[in-house]
Symmetry: C2
Subunit: 234 residues, 2 copies
């Protein structure tokens, strides 16, 4: 509804404030998208990432930033939303086991809310920073999940029924290692010091360096030989 | 996790407190399901239906009732969530046009939250009271929408990945007219006086009798030759 920009150039970008979604935002901006960032406050224990999302959206010139509350803590079932300890120093290779930091149906919920906002703006793209490489084995970070949500979006909206319009889900990191993701972001001028990755930060915001999320991030920076600007517990 | 009931007998039932979802709950109970009712407070102007949901869940012997907040009013775009008038006395046949009471991606969001709860309980069914007969033309009430969500659920959960388990979406009203739905509910002992249907009730809770939702309900009761126990504006 804002004038001048065709809906094909407008995108909803799911932005948690973490490394991956911030990089996806940088890539969407680099493709010239007018980016409307969506952060979902779902009861995550690391709600410090909400402030990181605000900083990153401003840093990368987003057109808007909306925070929407979804009370997944009422449902629980995850170390991120219930009183369950976040695992530390977990062995890297645990086969196909999905850790307790998995939040049931979280990405399904996030994409659903993004689809709602895309219909209203309107926007014809949703950008999502999931990766199926260097990840925690979550079912809703896999290419088949993204494809299934695309097929759902294709029949779920008013635009699809009335005008045959598609809201396209873009997952530009799906095949990238963490190092490759960081490399793309650095090339696009993203300041990773603004992002927040840790599942279980200290009260002063320092990252633990030991949860799955921190360890994947640190491994990515180490592979690149670049210093991670995030602040870690000593 | 509650003892004694196999997960195949446990179901999440999306319950708005309206006629359709209440009937779906009655049908799930008649099939012997242990029903965990989920009501989503999404900023609907007719939030009186939340109280109706509580009454109906109790009336039909639900095992539990959870109300989860999802702030779709922050997104708006519908007469049910934003400052847009609810249409009254709309001509019945308006081709394929979708009215302003459509809430963008609402059923996608509702099913997503239900899927999250089904994973946590765990339950292997989600019941949804949508109908593609005597309805308002909403894209997310059609059989192809339900089928697409099923395909998404089949790849989205921990159970699907780790154990090949399916959470099955049941939409038992999808092919029923409103009169047929009411007839089923009455046969199962559902007291429709407890349900709330109107999109735009008076402050004292009386139904307007003129919005799409009231008119479909009234038409259903009229076809059956049964008095609607709901209270309408004189």
């Amino acid at each position: 509804m804002s004038g001048g920009v065709r809906t094909t150039e407008r995108a909803v970008v799911l932005l948690s404030g973490g490394l991956d979604s911030s990089t996806a935002l940088a890539m969407a901006r680099a493709e010239g998208r007018e980016c409307h960032c969506l952060t979902v406050r779902y009861g995550q224990r690391h709600d410090r990432e909400l402030e990181a999302a605000r900083r990153v959206a401003e840093h990368l010139g987003a057109a808007g930033h909306l925070v929407v509350g979804v009370d997944l803590a009422a449902i629980g079932g995850s170390a991120l939303t219930a009183d369950i300890d976040v695992p530390k120093d977990r062995p890297a290779a645990q086969g196909s086991s999905i850790p307790v930091t998995y939040v049931p149906a979280r990405n399904t919920v996030l994409l659903s809310v993004a689809l709602a906002w895309a219909e209203v703006l309107p926007a014809l793209e949703i950008w999502l920073g999931v990766s199926a490489v260097d990840y925690s084995g979550y079912p809703d970070c896999r290419p088949e999940f993204v494809a299934a949500f695309q097929a759902l979006a294709d029949v779920a909206t008013r635009g699809a029924v009335e005008r045959g319009e598609r809201v396209v889900v873009r997952a530009p990191l799906i095949d990238l290692s963490k190092a490759e993701t960081i490399s793309r972001g650095l090339a696009l001028g993203l300041d990773y010091g603004l992002t927040h990755t840790c599942y279980d930060p200290a009260p002063d915001g320092a990252a633990c360096g030991r949860c799955d999320s921190c360890r994947l991030r640190l491994k990515g920076f180490a592979e690149l030989g670049v210093r991670d600007p995030a602040r870690y517990l000593a």
